[in-house]
């Protein structure tokens, strides 16, 4: 039997990263294949190739045995591949109905058939168990509903192959159960399904087969019945996760450096409260919509705070804007390094000095920075942070993700911060540089900085955090300490299925 869809020896490269190293994978008709792997293993790249958004450097793609080239998403859709992408591809200014039918509108001579569209969309939404007005604008929906609309959109096309990239990340249990029912029904109708998920229970519950990607290679494929969770995790990790030397005698809350009390952020019902000690690294975990990203932005003055207080070293600080936050000793690095971190047209020295605390600098050099002085300072940090760059006049845009991140950590250092907020600090960073960045973060902490690491990468949080707070829809579901910080506990608590209570373990 020829496979419905197959890729052979697909290689994909980005500057500095080999995302896929010759992957061959086939999907059979009427089967549900789970694709699992850690973040950065290449799942999303593979999906983007199948969706026609990216073209592989090498390798072929076969549809029912025939070699096909998909050069854009229209071709992929025409070939019968429908994708639920992880990041939403919705147009906020259009209604739910228009979004779902975008690109394949029901029409007569170019005129959209409004009534037919509405009926079709209502029918689709009701199979998904959604009671939404099709005329509502997408910009007014919650993340969960947007996710459902995204799914409805994929189902509205004619397709043979359905690819779902973490479709349940923003859904609640009832919705997940309903979605599983639909996926099973589609498979029974002979559709081919590829299901990407981080939730292993889902994989065993729903899927016939499982394929594991690790570091851009396919390392395992078998039917789910031949595996259990333990062996699957071993395949995903390839080995025991490298435990980074964690200081077990974590800082006590006595010398709390940052205390956040009852912080209300728009869009979240419950206030956020937490404390971070001097030299402590606190991890924040949670899925989309958990509020951890919004929390760090609020602490950095980049999002409105409705109520509550923030204090540093016992002193209450008012964080109304980013400059006041920096003056108060808070610094944040965004998860979107490319557009919110680096200044691509400036060199590494300038990038590092841009938020510099200028108290010790003469007024003249504040206006016209001394190149020599900054150069010397850079050389010092260059060695200390082990940035791989020949000299300080190099443009930051040409560096690898890991080295860019080190420069940004240097920037945070130069701001003289006492509280450092890191969002996805090693996203897009290769494995070697990852460990160096962990060591740097740890060194910053030992120098007394209170560090908050917000990350979707559970192994990362287990590796570096002294304490890990897990959020779900703006509510803290677990506070993990010491040996309780495991991938299982983090993932469990972030979907609310297992809530581990108490610091008194």
């Amino acid at each position: 039997m020829t496979a419905m869809l197959a890729v052979e020896n697909v290689v994909q490269q980005y500057p500095g990263v080999r995302a896929l190293k010759g992957v061959s994978l086939s999907l059979d008709e009427g089967r549900i294949l789970a694709l699992v792997g850690e973040n950065g293993a290449g799942k999303s790249t593979l999906i983007r190739i199948l969706a026609g958004i990216e073209q592989p450097v090498e390798g072929t793609l076969r549809l029912r045995g025939e070699i096909r080239r998909l050069t854009n998403s229209a071709e992929s859709q025409a070939a019968g591949i429908s994708v639920v992408s992880q990041e939403f591809r919705l147009v906020p200014q259009l209604s739910i109905a228009d979004n779902i039918m975008l690109g394949h509108e029901l029409r007569t001579a170019g005129v959209v058939r409004a009534r037919g569209t509405r009926a079709r969309v209502r029918e689709l939404l009701s199979t998904l168990g959604l009671d939404l007005n099709p005329d509502r604008l997408v910009s007014s929906l919650t993340t969960g509903d947007q996710q459902m609309v995204e799914i409805a959109r994929a189902l509205s096309r004619d397709f043979e192959v359905l690819i779902m990239d973490e479709p349940t990340a923003a859904l609640n249990r009832a919705e997940i159960a309903r979605l599983h029912g639909i996926v099973r029904r589609l498979a029974a109708q002979g559709k081919t399904i590829m299901y990407v998920s981080h939730h292993l229970d889902e994989v065993f519950d729903l899927c016939d087969e499982v394929a594991v990607l690790r570091d851009g290679s396919l390392v395992h494929r078998s039917s789910t019945s031949e595996l259990n969770e333990q062996t699957l995790i071993e395949h995903m990790l390839g080995r025991k996760p490298q435990v980074f030397g964690r200081a077990d005698g974590a800082a006590t809350a006595n010398d709390a450096r940052l205390v956040v009390d009852g912080l209300c952020i728009g869009g979240f019902e419950e206030p956020f409260s937490l404390a971070v000690g001097t030299g402590e690294i606190v991890g924040l975990a949670g899925l989309a919509g958990s509020g951890r990203g919004e929390l760090t932005r609020a602490l950095f003055g980049d999002r409105a705070v409705l109520a509550g207080s923030i204090s540093i070293d016992g002193e209450t600080v008012q964080v109304r804007s980013v400059p006041t936050a920096i003056r108060a000793g808070i610094y944040m690095l965004s998860e979107d390094r490319k557009s919110e971190g680096i200044l691509p047209h400036l060199d590494v020295t300038e990038n590092m000095m841009v938020s510099r605390d200028t108290k010790s600098v003469s007024w003249w050099h504040r206006l016209a920075p001394s190149r020599r002085e900054e150069g010397d300072l850079f050389e010092e940090l260059h060695r200390e942070l082990r940035i791989r760059v020949p000299n300080g006049r190099h443009l930051i845009g040409n560096l690898s993700g890991g080295n860019q991140q080190k420069v940004l950590l240097g920037r945070a250092l130069q701001s003289g911060c006492r509280v450092l907020l890191l969002n996805e600090p090693t996203r897009g960073v290769d494995v070697g540089a990852k460990l160096e960045i962990y060591q740097l973060i740890r060194r910053l902490a030992t120098q007394g900085v209170a560090v908050i690491v917000s990350s979707s990468d559970a192994p990362e949080l287990t590796a570096i955090s002294d304490r890990c707070l897990v959020y779900l829809s703006g509510r803290q579901t677990a506070e993990l300490v010491g040996s309780d910080i495991t991938e299982d506990n983090i993932v469990g608590a972030s979907v609310g299925q297992i809530a581990v209570g108490g610091t008194h373990g």
């Binding site: 249990r173 829809s473 509510r475 506990n489 581990v500």
Partner: protein, 348 residues
Amino acid sequence: MVNAPQLLQVDVVTSAEQERRESARRGDRAARRQSILQKLGIIIPFVLVLLAGIVLVPSFLSASNITNMLVDGAILAITAYGMTMVIALRGIDLSVGSTQAVVACVAAVSVNAWGILPGILAGIAAAIILGLVNGLIVTTFRVPAFIATLATLGIFRGIALLFTGGAPIMITDSAFRSIATSSIFGIPVPFIVAVLVGAGFWFVLDRMRFGKHVVAVGGSPESATDSGIKVKRIELIAYVVAAAAAGVAGLLLASQLGSVNGSLSSGLELQAIAVVVLGGTSMAGGRGNIIGTFLASLLLAMINAGLNLLNVPSFYQYIALGMLLVFALSLDSAQRAAVRRVFEGRVA
């Protein structure tokens, strides 16, 4: 995990349901607030200026002044419809004034040489060619729309001046000249044309597939690409349509004036952009508001006519227009901020 001290059952479903209802409420409120701001943004100034005109300006409601305002407003509105579509796509067309000059001059010469119908067709053909030039520069050569149309603003103006040799062209055909000045059932023909063209634009943008694609490309270009929409084709069509609209307005203008020259309609882009933004179309792209554009064009015509009747030097009209543009743009930003506030909860 197994020896976790206590297991809490978090009632995820209920809280999600609650959150969902709450968000639906918030979303409705945001949409309502935005639509009110969008409507008030044009209706309030419109009514205020109308009332001020009636009270303060002598003979504001005279038949000749009303006809004047309707014709001027109509000619501006037709240009601005095209601009609305381009701005909805996150683009801009600064060359509309120069395009209009070329079209008017080509049409004038052609009407004199071959008669009324060939003249009109030649004018429209010229507009389409200029629109294709703009569209190709933006889509094929990937020049940002602002720069591309700034360049063609100069180029087309130069062509118009070269074509006429700097001298005015008198239009001899009286049938052509009577188009803009005649009326049907007492309504000036240009106004009827503006209403019909506007209805066409509204239908295309609001009811047709093309219009949905315009909103998609302007609102979220990545989503549009991923949905298999041919983004470049949409953009190309929009620039051609914008030029054609400017061209139709140019024909009416030529008919109204009876004599055209190469420097006709300079500075028109400022007026067109001002009425589009005042009409409620966001410079950030997304949904175009044709009815708003129409009303805003009439508003600007009322302001200009009022100032003329009050014998205010025409220099002040530039200042009024500039201030109107600032007002419109700040309203546009305020609108988006209002929506954001509802979601982030800065205002209860």
